[in-house]
Point group: C2
Chain length 215, copies 2
């Protein structure tokens, strides 16, 4: 009578969630290559074809895992923001620190999350990413100068943090002690929103390409 599955009922209950958790475990233990429909199924104790039924193939499973990954990603950033220095610039730097920490602690998941090409797709995946970047967007807001599209400032911070995290994961920053390097690189953000060029390069909202310039 207890809700425990004494005899492994044919209907798993919430196999969907179990498969996502199994996938996350596989990623953590064996890297990106280890994520496999059949291995997920085995880890969840179901037949090899069960995952495909729930997620409509491997891409679907990866997307479901990425959605959960974005959730955790967001938590990393928010946690870092709350713990760090409570100034506008302090929050901005804390967010980028959380960005790097997530990438470092969840290497395979980070790579999975950004391994998609969602150009032209307006599905729930894009929404998950959008949701995850909410804190970053919020922390960028105080640095948006008059007449400049917020997306420009966000893209600056985002690119810098993402680039550093990606190159770090690829092992392109020499030795392991990159904490000092990270802080040094992020000093570039001290000029964000106040750099001389921001006002002069003719970037209003038109800079986003929403305007006429189709070239």
């Amino acid at each position: 009578m207890s809700e425990a599955t004494l005899k492994k009922p044919h209907h798993h209950g919430n196999l969907r969630e179990a498969l996502v958790l199994a996938g996350l475990q596989l990623l953590e233990e064996g890297g990106p290559e280890a994520l496999t429909l059949r291995r997920c199924a085995a880890l969840a104790g179901v037949s090899h074809a069960a995952p495909a039924h729930h997620f409509d193939g491997l891409p679907g499973l990866r997307k479901a895992i990425a959605d959960e990954g974005f959730r955790r990603f967001r938590n990393y950033m928010v946690d870092a923001e709350v713990l760090g220095e409570q100034t506008d610039r302090g929050r901005l730097k804390s967010i980028t620190r959380g960005y790097l920490n997530f990438a470092r602690d969840n290497r395979a998941l980070f790579l999975l999350i950004f391994g998609y090409d969602l150009t032209g797709s307006r599905d729930s995946h894009a929404d998950a990413g959008h949701f995850a970047y909410d804190p970053l967007r919020r922390c960028c807001a105080p640095f948006v100068p008059k007449g400049v599209a917020p997306e420009v400032i966000e893209a600056q911070v985002w690119s810098l943090a993402h680039g550093f995290a990606s190159l770090y994961l690829a092992g392109r920053f020499w030795s392991s002690a990159s904490d000092g390097l990270f802080d040094a690189v992020m000093t570039l953000l001290d000029g964000v929103g106040a750099t001389a060029g921001v006002g002069t390069a003719g970037l209003g909202t038109a800079g986003l390409g929403k305007g006429g310039e189709t070239a």
Copy 2:
């Protein structure tokens, strides 16, 4: 008698190079997933097991392709540098433009190149990447303040360019017309080497982690 292979000699000649070219073609036509040992073999007109003999497996083939990719990557940057405005800052921006252009024109190859984790490996692959980043390093040199390690400035430029390119490839920059956004983001570089924070955050060569700070 002509050097043409009228009867397909058993010894291909330079199968190694042919396989790398086949791999590049597959990447271009079918994306990262299309790169396969067996497909490379078929495209080069040899048996399916031939590539493994030359490259010691798929990772070896990917590495060989990445080496060639880095060569082309470097050319992109150098070409952009030569064509652009001939000032220190002009060259710096041109390099980053070349960076993005390469990523855009060689999506799968770009992803392949940076898809490795070469932490702890000091093989020829690291050398290829090192070689490719030579122009970028050179263009950063004029912006390195006294007492700051060159690697810090390089990592700033590198991270910003790489982050933007990666996020662009992932389709995270909304619409297609991101040229304006790119220029806007790169205005952050107008403060490189001269940002207020660079002098104040205590980053000498110690910032690289080569010094004592092991935390």
